[in-house]
Symmetry: C2
Subunit: 422 residues, 2 copies
């Protein structure tokens, strides 16, 4: 007999069925016991009077054959009666915390220590179903625009973003590093495919123990050529974010934000002026936005434009990586942007330099030796179009969508200063 | 004016157009010059009598506006006349090899040293378009079967597949490793989602300098629960491989193999008997298939079944990893398989152990301490269904499909004993 999934059970009323899953909960009344079986799609209620069925530990994997019987009090309006049970696993060990409650009561560290168990909880599982659906939406929008998916090396010969926060590897006796981003590779590949994206791990040796940093996370990177400037990138990003949310809504559901057709946009200088005017404190000389400024801009976008998203453009060149393209009209400002969601930075992107001479000048200005960058500079030596891109941190995205206070709650098996297992 | 892609040019005959791309080739005749512009979709021919247009180096990025004019001798039947040119990049540097020939004449090492340039060649680019299309097919088949995509850590606390060939990392002063496979994580996540897949990098410190090994490659991993045995896994794999080829055919085209509805299948013992009978040399006691045996089986499948694919099942337990499930009827053999394509192993998979006690017995038998495995064994302690899965090496897949003699020809930026850049 074919397995019936919990979600399909209501359609099977009156028939013999076979369900299988984890024993989620057992409840005993005077003459009858209820077993709740959890599978990937939901819960199935089993009614039994057989005392042989009542000693099975929760989380044991069982298979139940029986009759699907209408009962308006059962989940989905159908329960399984006259059950025959078979254990598919050994009896599960004693659980360190209850799995049957609406949410896990264990603290986050205890959950992370027991991740193979804790992640089974439907509320925990849903976070990662949202992540998977978001990634599918990211790809789908870019595939339709003829972006090509690429896989670039995570073992690299020199640091990509800066010398700091990089993990070293012993590579056959040579010194190598874990890639902090696919930035250089995705740019080189714009020279090949014009438009590329990559979903993959990036590594940051973050020595800070915060709720926002991980040593390894999943980066959703896109990069494309033949742009006018950073506004071309912002237009694609707007559609990507909308597509990610649409996919999440279709596949997982729940209350998710709406992306306006035009995301409100402020220049960095304009943003600081607004903050100064509102607070009475002159911050117009600041080189970056403080978290409080970002929250203010988030509130402004919601109040004035009914938008949970706001773009800030033109961050000072001094605060952006060396490959950032300046604003030709005001070279102290950059053709870059941040996308804020509910007042917190969600995505960073912009136009990149595309002329070899500009790269050499930028490195010279930083006092950096060009030698480690030569493999990368080849791309520009052999002709590159104006291009730009962006990167979305998947765990940060999912944490924001689910309101998680700690990014680790949106990471299957987080890696940080203190955590290397499971 | 909107940019017209080379592939769209034929539809624009008679209109003013703007194309942009890399100057692929320049040919001068007595009174006229032809410039070929290459973009991600094809080639556009420009006809000019302006001598100012003839000094632009190949690979410079240019934008051309002009009239799309029918000419049956031009590629696609249309060329651009009365062109105005604008350089989008600086003039490209001198090329180390010709890019305009039907295939690159430089040797593979020279191509890899100059990857940002060499990969632009249409024949090289196509290999990776095939890879991207194959991955899209992999995901599409599994998405339809409610598999959930996951991202698992690449920095791990202990070696996954075996102690050998593992890269060490300095992890905040602790010893850590790069994951050799997502095997343990995908199994733990079967306990969460029932069905999972991951496309991501895996790392092997291969000290061998061969045409088949890389230090980093992309693994297409799937794992799922509630199976009968390895044959459930083989059935899904058959459909995955068919879906990968269908996607590659649709998106890229070309001559690609066909997967039969039923892939011919031989048991390991049966395969060795066949080889012995055919060669007159008794190999029935061998613990593994030699490359010559695999080629023989590939020829057999093609001759007897018209299939380029053949499954070999039941490899001896001694040659499979400790998490492999034995054949209950013949415990010296395993519930595992290899999928051979044109006589070479392409995919490995099988049923895994799912009982905690079986894991502990298997580790004891190997003389291995269970302690480093405890985070992984948790999953089995708390109840796991019968499950299995497979892994496809993407670069190997693409190399086989394109007939590449060296796996590096199917890798954007290969990593090996000698190569760490670009």
């Amino acid at each position: 007999m074919e397995r019936t999934l919990a979600a399909e059970l209501p359609e099977q009323a009156g028939r013999e069925v076979r369900v299988a899953g984890w024993l989620h909960r057992t409840r005993h009344l005077a003459n009858v016991s209820f077993l709740i079986v959890r599978d990937a799609t939901g819960m199935a209620q089993i009614v039994t009077t057989d005392h042989g069925h009542t000693g099975i530990p929760e989380e044991t994997v069982i298979e139940v054959t029986g009759r699907a019987t209408a009962n308006e009090k059962a989940p989905g309006g159908v329960e399984i009666t006259e059950p025959r049970l078979r254990l598919l696993s050994e009896p599960a060990g004693t659980l360190p915390f209850d799995m049957f409650r609406p949410s896990l009561r264990a603290g986050l560290p205890a959950q992370l220590d027991r991740a193979p168990l804790a992640l089974r909880h439907p509320a925990r599982r849903r976070v990662f179903e949202l992540a998977a659906a978001s990634v599918a939406g990211f790809r789908s929008v870019l595939d339709r625009r003829r972006f090509v998916e690429v896989s670039t090396p995570k073992i690299v010969g020199s640091a990509t973003e800066s010398g700091a926060n990089v993990f070293g590897i012993d590579y056959f006796g040579q010194r190598a590093f874990l890639a902090q981003s696919p930035q250089f590779y995705k740019q080189m590949l714009v020279g090949v495919f014009e438009r590329v994206y990559e979903v993959g791990p990036v590594f940051r040796a973050e020595p800070h123990d915060t709720t926002r940093h991980l040593a390894e996370y999943t980066s959703l990177d896109a990069e494309f050529g033949f742009i006018t400037d950073h506004t071309s990138v912002m237009a694609v990003l707007r559609d990507v974010v909308a597509g990610m949310l649409e996919s999440a809504r279709e596949r997982v559901g729940g209350h998710l934000p709406v992306v306006p057709a035009q995301i409100p946009t402020l220049h960095f200088a304009e943003a600081l002026e607004m903050v100064s005017a509102a607070t009475g404190v002159d911050v117009t000389g600041e080189p970056d936005l403080a978290p409080a400024h970002e929250r203010f801009l988030g509130e402004w976008a919601r109040r004035e434009h009914g938008s949970e998203f706001v773009f800030v453009t033109g961050y000072p060149m001094a605060k952006r990586p060396f490959y950032t393209h300046p604003d030709p009209a005001r070279p102290a400002y950059s053709n870059s942007f941040d996308l804020l969601f509910r007042g917190i930075e969600l995505v960073t992107g912009g136009q990149r330099l595309h002329r070899e001479s500009d790269y050499r000048a930028a490195l010279r200005k930083l006092g950096e030796d060009a030698a480690p960058y030569e493999p990368y500079l080849q791309a520009f030596h052999f002709g590159m179009p104006p291009h730009g891109g962006f990167a979305i941190g998947l765990e940060r995205w999912t944490a924001r969508l689910t309101g998680a206070a700690n990014i680790r709650a949106a990471t299957l098996f987080p890696r940080d200063l203190h955590r290397l297992t499971p």
